[in-house]
């Protein structure tokens, strides 16, 4: 069975600074996807970034980038130039490339960006 672990329940960062959220996972699958989702206080979850496991290059989306270490089963999210609108719950998620294509989520990290 797959598991996803987010070891930081809460974090804070000053506006304009950089913060890294940690995520580790466990799987015996060789082909899978990893995701970071953001859930602002309005509660709709929004996809931040996606990584295909077969790709060695780390995914980036504007101020968001990941450090994907497949051998270590680590998938951290770096937010550069943090903005007040980045305040949210962040969930790391795993999806197997077969079957139901359902997410396995971590417990989330609550990030607060301070003015």
């Amino acid at each position: 069975a797959q598991t996803v672990t987010q070891s930081q329940p809460e974090m804070s960062v000053q506006e304009a600074e950089t913060v890294t959220l940690s995520c580790t996972y466990d799987t015996s699958e060789s082909n899978y996807y990893l995701f970071w989702y953001k859930q602002p206080p309005s509660r709709q979850m929004i996809l931040v970034i996606r990584q295909e496991a077969y790709k060695q290059q780390n995914a980036t989306e504007n101020r968001f980038s990941v450090n994907f270490q497949k051998a270590a089963k680590s998938f951290s999210l770096k937010i550069s130039d943090s903005q007040l609108g980045d305040t949210a719950m962040y969930f790391c998620a795993f999806m197997k490339h077969s079957g139901t294509y359902k997410y396995i989520f971590g417990t989330g990290t609550r990030l607060k960006v301070l003015a």
Binding site: S42, Q44, T100, Y101, F105
Partner: protein, 113 residues
Amino acid sequence: EAGVTQFPSHSVIEKGQTVTLRCDPISGHDNLYWYRRVMGKEIKFLLHFVKESKQDESGMPNNRFLAERTGGTYSTLKVQPAELEDSGVYFCASSQDRVYGYTFGSGTRLTVV
């Protein structure tokens, strides 16, 4: 394009009562998923529909939960009778492609007292 709509947004019911949650997916999305987050814990998969058929209901906690998807359009999740441990946020998501284009609703916060 309208998003995934869930209602009610909040529901407070007494233990033993029945509650029905509804999810309207994005039009044309064959895949519909239900997930649940119990306070402080991870978001867990409940079940997956493809059109009106249940493809995977391995995450349904027990037979007090009944999910339906009428005509492959909207879906309902009924809890009967509700127990205290059913409290949490219930999320619905839909997608046309199973990996890409997954869209979540805002969730229904269920509180059983």
